[in-house]
Structures are given as structure tokens and as C-alpha cells.
């Protein structure tokens, strides 16, 4: 599931997950003439210009109007289209949550909500544009599935997969270029977590580009004689209960890692599984009930507790509680 040289960060190519989405959308649209896409004045940022050029009649520029975009997307979907609606995650699903809840979720409309520039990794734009709540607000909506791909290649595969599968989806994308570490052969199955490596002492469960940081942490831990399992939980909902319980039973300790608020996100979703089926100690590497600020992603990850140092601290804490 990993590229051969995944351990060598410098040698890996870098690509943003939003770029993978753009490639995936174009590829999916070539396969399925039913696909249409809407964008709220961020076509370039969402890497949708290739789709727009290839299928001008299937692209709708809706202007800076995310609430309307959600409803129009639902109307198109209820008329038989497979619909992608796209903007920054801060506004889609940030601005238009109730429209997504009713027009898309309650109607069970075949709309894919694409939220890019999620998380602290947006960087310089600052707190207003750093969506840190989107996993929480999307996964509580019935009928809605939630996907957060780990690299550009996985984002492309995820886009193709959700285009094929009927129903509402939220796809979480990031702005920053991050290492391309998943292998082209790795299968992407909605709802199926990827066990990137099995563990003995604990398991790191991550989502989004931070999966690579979990892998990097496992290398550092190996040098200390600790065998950390790593799971890529690209589908936050429906959650892969089996994979989580298996890892908890095998290693007895879990650290969850996400570029999102600790409340309601991946860590909470994992905890909901553990507490019911296999209660083991869990630590949360996530943003702790605070807003972000401007800065480079690495600076922000350091300050807000998402970098290697904080993962390491969380590991020490969880091992003590075993």
C-alpha cells in the first residue's frame, strides 16, 4: 500500500490532495456523462479548470453563494445527475451546513460536497479560513459519508470512488503539497481502513496528509524499540469498526492524529468505537478547542500540537496508561 521509498521524505514527490481531486474529477467525468460540477468562485483553487475546459456545459459557476450551491446541487441530483459542489471547507460545508443537512442529507441526494483548504495546513490565510470543524459537522448528518484522503493519489482514487457510489459524500481536501507516499497499486475502498503496518505496542490512527506524519513517527519509535501500527482511516464515516477493534486488541493503546478539532472529529469517531467494543487508552493529537492563526503549516502544527514532537508525547502518555 506504500511506495517503495516512502521512508525517504525528500525523495517523494509532493502533491496537494486538491490536485488529486481535480485529476479524479476529470477522469470520472470522462467515464460518466452524468457528472456535473458546481463551484463557488474558486475553480482554480479547487483544481477544476481542466474539468471546466473539457466539459464547459457540465460546469456551473454559481458565484460566491455556497448556500444556493448546495440546493442547486440537490436539485440537479434529484433530476438524475451526479453532482460535485466545491469551495473552501470553511464555507462548504462551513457556511451551508443546514442546506447540506436538509436539501442534500434528508433528500439523500447524490451530491458530493468538496471542501478544500481544510485544517491548519491552509497556513497564511489564518483562522477564518482554517476549517477545523468540518469532519464533526458532516459526520453527524444522516446519509452523509465522510472521506479524508491521505495524499494526492488517494484523493484521485477517492474522487473516482465517490463518483461511482450513489448518495451524499463529504470529501475533505487540503491546500498544501504533501508527500505522495501511497502506492499506485493500493486499492481504495470506501469504508475500509488501510492498515499500513501492523503494530505491537500501540496503533497510530490518522486521517488526511497527517497519515504520513504517523508513518514518520513510527520510524522514530522503531528506533526506540517500539513497534507502532499505522492505520490510514481515510473514511471517517462509515467507520471501519473491525479494523479499529482489531488494532486495539492487538496493541492495547491508540493515538489518533488529525488536522481538526479534538471535539467531534476522527479521534471522537474512533473513541466511539473503542468505548463500546474494546476500551483501551487513547490519546488525541488534534487542535484543542482553539482557533488557529496565520503562519506556515509547520509553524502552526508545532504551536497547535500536531507535529512529530506532539505525536511522540502522546505516545509516551498512552503507553503509561496501558
Amino acid at each position: 500500500m506504500l511506495r517503495k521509498n516512502w521512508q525517504n521524505r525528500e525523495k517523494l514527490q509532493a502533491q496537494a490532495t486538491r490536485q488529486g481531486f481535480g485529476e479524479g474529477l476529470l477522469a470520472a467525468a470522462k467515464l460518466d456523462p452524468n457528472i456535473v460540477a458546481l463551484c463557488a468562485d474558486l475553480t482554480g483553487s479547487l483544481n477544476m479548470t481542466d474539468f471546466q475546459a473539457a466539459f464547459p456545459d457540465r460546469f456551473f459557476q454559481v458565484g460566491v453563494a455556497e448556500q444556493n450551491m448546495a440546493g442547486v446541487g440537490a436539485g440537479l441530483a434529484l433530476s438524475g445527475k451526479t453532482v460535485f459542489i466545491s469551495s473552501f471547507a470553511a464555507f462548504n460545508p462551513g457556511r451551508n451546513w443546514e442546506q447540506i443537512r436538509v436539501s442534500i442529507g434528508y433528500n439523500n441526494a447524490n451530491v458530493k460536497v468538496i471542501g478544500s483548504h481544510a485544517g491548519l495546513s491552509v497556513g497564511e490565510d489564518g483562522a477564518t479560513h482554517q476549517a477545523l470543524e468540518d469532519l464533526a459537522t458532516m459526520r453527524v448528518i444522516p446519509n452523509m459519508s465522510v472521506i479524508s484522503p491521505a495524499d494526492g493519489l488517494e484523493a484521485k482514487k477517492a474522487t473516482l470512488a465517490i463518483a461511482r457510489k450513489k448518495g451524499p459524500f463529504y470529501l475533505r481536501l487540503c491546500r498544501a503539497k504533501t508527500p505522495l507516499f501511497t502506492s499506485p497499486e493500493a486499492k481504495f475502498v470506501i469504508g475500509q481502513a488501510q492498515v499500513l503496518q501492523p503494530g505491537r505496542d500501540l496503533t497510530l490512527i490518522a486521517t488526511g496528509p497527517l497519515v504520513y506524519e504517523a508513518l514518520a513517527a513510527s520510524l522514530a519509535l522503531a528506533k526506540l524499540g517500539l513497534k507502532a501500527g499505522v492505520i490510514n482511516l481515510h473514511t471517517v464515516k462509515p467507520i471501519d469498526q473491525q479494523a479499529i477493534v482489531k488494532a486495539a486488541k492487538a496493541t492495547g493503546a491508540i493515538v489518533t492524529i488529525e488536522d481538526h478539532q479534538a471535539y467531534g472529529g476522527l479521534g471522537s469517531a474512533v473513541a466511539e468505537v473503542l468505548v463500546k467494543h474494546c476500551p483501551v487508552p487513547q490519546e488525541f493529537v488534534a487542535v484543542k478547542d482553539t482557533f488557529g492563526e496565520s503562519g506556515q503549516p509547520a509553524e502552526l502544527f508545532h504551536k497547535y500540537g500536531l507535529d512529530a514532537k506532539h505525536i511522540f508525547t502522546a505516545v509516551k502518555r498512552v503507553l503509561k496508561r496501558k
Binding site: A65, Q67, K81, Q99, S103
Partner: protein
């Protein structure tokens, strides 16, 4: 275009639907009689004179779409649909009851012929715009009708949707605005002034027509004229009297969202029945 006989038939149909509304909201113990009664003539005109539809095949792909953006007036739609033959009239008394497809607000999940779940104000118009866009994309000839309340257009989302409808020249979209001048907290011009309303729509590149929402001839003429428009969406501003047909409810915002008590319902039904007898008498005369 509308002869006296046909007009009288529509009036009779509307009267029956108004009686259904009173009965079903009274049985439910909650609901919105004001807007439902106010829009009865419009819904009657649509279901018994305008819509391309088939009650036996509610999801016929070529049907006109009707979106109730002001979903709270759904009792009138249920009654009109039952009378048009979509489902047995007896089912109307299950309105708002546990297990009924006749949910308090339209639910696609429970009742697919509703076209979409709606009620949270401002959302239906966006869905309608999406359906009109899809019709263009699929080169389909059906029209999309969207009913909205005047209080509803306080919501900014409506104006986002209007911008998009004009941008894509959705001449297959007809918005019917229930201009009844009341909303939950009181008179619309006090809660949030909308005038000059027709000018607002004109500025948004809509074709605008204003009609008396209780005059079938005017309603039908406007709905037909909307079909002739080549490059713009249409809005028909229908001046209506909330609670129309039940004197004590007319123009009183207290009846926006309150169910009548049984004795109040009786008074309303007595009045409507009296009117029905007169209409039936007229029908007999016209038939001669």
C-alpha cells in the same frame, strides 16, 4: 380562455380543498391554516388546470416539477393531490401523525411525489433552480414551479438563487410568490419591508407579473404567459388573503400557525358549506 363553467368548477374544487384543510389541521391539532387557505386557489389552478402530471404515475419523468419552498403550507398541497387522485382522501386525516407519509413539512423520504423535502425557508428555490438547470441540460420540456412565501424571501439564499436563475436564463422556471403580507411575528411590512417588491425582481432580471391570487382567470393567464417567456425566469406575485374563505381567519396573522379548535372548525366548515351550496347552484344553472 376561461369560461364561466370551468371557473365555477375550479371554485368548487377550491372550496372542497379548503374544507379538507380545516378538517386535517383540526384533526392534527397543529399546522398552518393561514397560508394553506390563502394559496388554495393557486394550488387548485395548478393541479386542475396547469400542471403536466399524472396522479397514477407520480414520478413520470416528463412531469412538471412543483417545489413547495414554503413547505409549511403543505396541507393545501396534500389536499389538492388527494383530490387530484394521487392518494385516497381519507388519508388526509393522518396529517402530522406518527407513521404517516403526510409529514408536517414535505418529506421526499416518506412521500416521493413531493419532489424534495422542504420547509426550512429559502432552500426550495435553490432546488427548483437546480431542477430547471437539469431540464435545460437534458433538453427536457417540463417546467419547474416554485411556490414561496413573502416572509421567506427575507432569507438571503433566495436572492442567491434568483441571481443564478437569471444568469442561466431559466425561462422554464416559474416562481409563485404568496404575497399575503403576514409572517409569524406580524405584518411583513413591519417585520421586514419588501417594497418595492416587483422592482426588486425586475432588477434581478425576472419577468414579473402581479395577480389577484384568488382570481382564476388572472392566475391562469399569468401561468400561461410565463410559458411564452424566452430568456428570463418568471415570478408571479400573487396577492392573497391569508385564511381566505374563512372570515374569522382572514388577514389575521394569529392563524399563520395555529390549529382551530373543534367549535372554530365547525364555524369555518359551516361558512364553506354555505358557499359550496351557492357554487353548486350556479353550476346547475350554467349547465342548462
Amino acid at each position: 380562455m376561461l369560461n364561466k363553467q370551468k371557473e365555477n368548477q375550479l371554485k368548487i374544487q377550491a372550496n372542497i380543498i379548503r374544507q379538507d384543510i380545516i378538517k386535517m389541521i383540526t384533526a392534527a391539532g397543529s399546522g398552518h391554516p393561514g397560508g394553506s387557505l390563502g394559496m388554495t386557489d393557486i394550488l387548485t389552478a395548478l393541479y386542475f388546470g396547469v400542471l403536466k402530471h399524472n396522479p397514477k404515475k407520480p414520478l413520470w419523468p416528463e412531469r412538471d416539477r412543483l417545489i413547495l419552498s414554503n413547505g409549511h403550507i403543505v396541507p393545501v398541497r396534500y389536499a389538492a393531490m388527494a383530490r387530484a387522485g394521487y392518494f385516497p382522501v381519507q388519508r388526509l386525516k393522518t396529517l402530522r401523525k406518527f407513521g404517516s407519509p403526510l409529514q408536517g413539512h414535505p418529506s421526499l423520504h416518506d412521500f416521493p411525489a413531493m419532489e424534495c423535502s422542504s420547509g426550512p425557508l429559502g432552500q426550495g428555490i435553490s432546488v427548483a433552480v437546480g431542477m430547471a438547470l437539469a431540464a435545460k441540460l437534458n433538453k427536457k420540456s417540463y417546467r419547474v414551479y416554485c411556490l414561496m412565501g413573502d416572509g421567506e424571501i427575507n432569507e438571503g439564499q433566495c436572492w442567491e438563487a434568483y441571481l443564478l436563475a437569471a444568469k442561466y436564463k431559466l425561462n422554464n422556471l416559474t416562481v409563485i410568490l404568496d404575497r399575503n403580507n403576514i409572517q409569524i411575528d406580524g405584518r411583513s411590512d413591519e417585520v421586514m419591508p419588501l417594497n418595492p417588491l416587483a422592482a426588486k425582481y425586475r432588477a434581478f432580471n425576472f419577468k414579473v407579473m402581479t395577480v389577484n391570487g384568488h382570481n382564476f382567470s388572472e392566475i391562469l393567464k399569468a401561468l400561461q404567459a410565463a410559458g411564452w417567456e424566452r430568456s428570463k425566469p418568471t415570478v408571479i406575485i400573487a396577492r392573497t388573503i391569508p385564511g381566505k374563505g374563512v372570515t374569522y381567519m382572514e388577514n389575521d396573522y394569529q392563524w399563520h400557525g395555529n390549529a382551530p379548535k373543534p367549535e372554530q372548525a365547525k364555524e369555518a366548515l359551516d361558512q364553506l358549506n354555505k358557499e359550496l351550496l351557492t357554487l353548486q347552484h350556479v353550476a346547475k344553472k350554467l349547465a342548462k
